[in-house]
């Protein structure tokens, strides 16, 4: 490139500002289908994405965020922009949850990533398990209308696109222990412990 470095640094800064203004206008005009940001929490830096309808995706850092972004672009919309404002409500509730100030998420949810049917019914049933208590795979299967589909319920929970907020960590095996978790078992233990739901030894 021909121009000198000093000019380029000014450009970088000016183009960043222009992009920020453009984002504001784009959001107002409904041109941002999905906004995303990252949130630092005690269980790691979480990826959080919201549509106009609500929180649509939350991901743990083991899943490369680029990957999550590509998935969202492919399945929902490529009009995907880093937009802390769009995700502001979800971010603040997550922070409050980890500080123990919020026991129930009130952020609207967008279920677009969950196929309708059994999976969705399992996750909807899971969303009603209160803070501080747990349920079993058989329980949520039953509440989703298929009492014998505990294993299938486990799969649906593993594919939960909005962990923590849809509290799949509150579903445990009937035989004891915390069981499996898509976001690593230590996180499940951490979350249950935070909620005071771990069985006392």
């Amino acid at each position: 490139m021909k121009p000198q470095t000093g000019w380029d640094e000014g450009l970088e800064e000016a183009s960043r500002r222009a992009a920020a203004t453009t984002l504001e206008v784009a959001r107002r005009r409904g041109l941002v289908d999905i906004g995303y940001t990252t949130v630092d929490t005690p269980v790691g830096t979480l990826f959080v994405a919201s549509t106009g309808k609500g929180l649509v995706r939350l991901a743990f850092p083991e899943q490369p965020f680029d990957h999550v972004l590509e998935e969202l672009a492919e399945t929902l919309s490529p009009r995907l922009l880093e937009d802390p404002k769009r995700t502001d409500a979800a971010r603040r509730q997550l922070e409050a949850y980890f500080e123990g100030r919020v026991h129930r998420f009130r952020t609207p949810l967008d279920w677009s990533l969950t196929p309708p049917g059994f999976s969705k019914r399992v996750l909807e049933a899971t969303a009603t398990i209160p803070f501080g208590s747990v349920s079993t795979y058989g329980d949520v299967a039953k509440r989703a209308g298929s009492p014998r589909a505990a294993r299938a319920a486990g799969n649906a929970l593993h594919d939960n696109p909005i962990p923590i907020v849809v509290p799949c960590h509150r579903v445990v095996p009937s035989g004891g222990g915390v069981g499996k978790y898509g976001g690593q078992e230590w996180r499940k233990e951490f979350l249950l412990d935070l909620e005071g739901a771990l069985a006392q030894p």
Binding site: A14, A19, E70, A73, P78, R79
Partner: protein
């Protein structure tokens, strides 16, 4: 076909698009053209059929916005005291006379000259960005440069 997240386009090409716009329309108008470029791009993005040259696609839109801008400027009655500011985009290399001359070129030649000599794009890339053939890109850049040479002693 899958389109990358729009944020990636913005991250990868934001500064180059901005550099092009400053060179083409000046600092004052660059922000507006930048905004219009990316809003148009966002509007059209989900319907885009060919993702093979997204940079070229963005520059095509940006170029169209600069052409719109200059056409608008010509139609609009401009107070005399504002003229110098418009005719001389803030020069990236501190040579106002050169940039005044660039600003006076016909739009296609101006765009081709900027793409070639400011952005260092190949003729194939310029052709993509301007939506013209490679030969036309070469001809426009050549003609633009010849005019610049004839108005002043320029060795770009």
């Amino acid at each position: 076909m899958t389109l990358p997240p729009f944020q990636r386009l913005l991250d990868e090409h934001r500064t180059d698009v901005y550099r092009f716009l400053v060179a083409a329309v000046g600092r004052q108008a660059a922000d507006d053209c930048f905004q219009e470029t990316f809003l148009s791009a966002l509007r059209a993005y989900p319907g885009l059929r060919d993702a093979s040259n997204l940079r070229g696609w963005l520059f095509t839109i940006a170029t169209r916005k600069t052409l719109d801008h200059w056409r608008g400027e010509r139609r609009r009655p401009i107070p005399v005291e504002r003229l110098p500011e418009r005719a001389a985009p803030e020069p990236p290399d501190g040579d106002p006379e050169l940039w005044t001359a660039v600003g006076a070129l016909p739009p296609m030649q101006r765009a081709a000259v900027i793409h070639r000599y400011v952005l260092d794009l190949s003729y194939a890339e310029i052709a993509d960005a301007l939506g013209i053939s490679e030969d036309a890109a070469r001809a426009n850049a050549y003609e633009g440069r010849r005019k610049l040479r004839s108005t002043q002693e320029v060795t770009a």
